[in-house]
């Protein structure tokens, strides 16, 4: 069980590092958003699964389902909002 928790923790933090590297190295705002919307959600899923497997109490499982639902529900909404202001600004710049 501890082996599974260890593997999940290390994989989750590696996915977070991949997202941060993408944010640092990519050249465009939309490319950076492509790096930063999907990988952190998956990393959060892995880390929350690790903590849930480690504790395995009913209330922790309930909170874990809640937090995974919330993260997977709100990450696309936030990304859509950011991309909308980006597109709004660029179209305005092209018009003038």
């Amino acid at each position: 069980m501890e082996i599974i928790v260890t593997i999940l923790i290390l994989l989750g933090s590696l996915f977070m590092l991949v997202a941060a590297t993408g944010v640092l190295r990519f050249s465009d705002t939309l490319s950076r958003m492509h790096a930063t919307t999907k990988a952190p959600s998956f990393a959060m899923l892995l880390i929350v699964m690790a903590v849930t497997i480690y504790f395995s109490i009913a209330i922790v499982i309930l909170k874990a389902i809640l937090i995974i639902l919330f993260v997977y529900l709100t990450a696309p909404l936030a990304a859509h909002s950011i991309s909308k202001i980006k597109e709004h600004n660029s179209s305005e710049k092209n018009q003038t």
Partner: protein
């Protein structure tokens, strides 16, 4: 021995997450536009949630789970609020 193994792996994961935090912080300071800064802040909120979950694993208390939920909510509301403000300003 097993417990010690898990503790060492938690410290390694702390190091990786702090490296990711530094990368996102560099983008936050350097970002040419404000949308880049919002993207970096969103990533920083996710990294801080991961750090708090790892800390709850280190001290073996499950009460720190609530902080991660609150950080997720506040990060979402902050992103939406800043983007609406920027769209109104532009």
């Amino acid at each position: 021995m097993e417990n010690n193994f898990l503790e060492i792996s938690i410290y390694i994961a702390f190091g990786i997450l702090i490296l990711a935090f530094v990368f996102a912080l560099i983008r936050l300071f350097k970002g040419p536009e404000s949308s880049d800064r919002i993207v970096a802040l969103d990533l920083i909120a996710a990294i801080v949630m991961g750090l708090i979950l790892l800390y709850s694993l280190l001290v073996k208390r499950e009460i720190y789970f609530d902080i991660a939920i609150i950080i997720a909510m506040i990060s979402f509301m902050g992103t939406i609020g800043i983007s609406i403000h920027l769209k109104k300003k532009a």
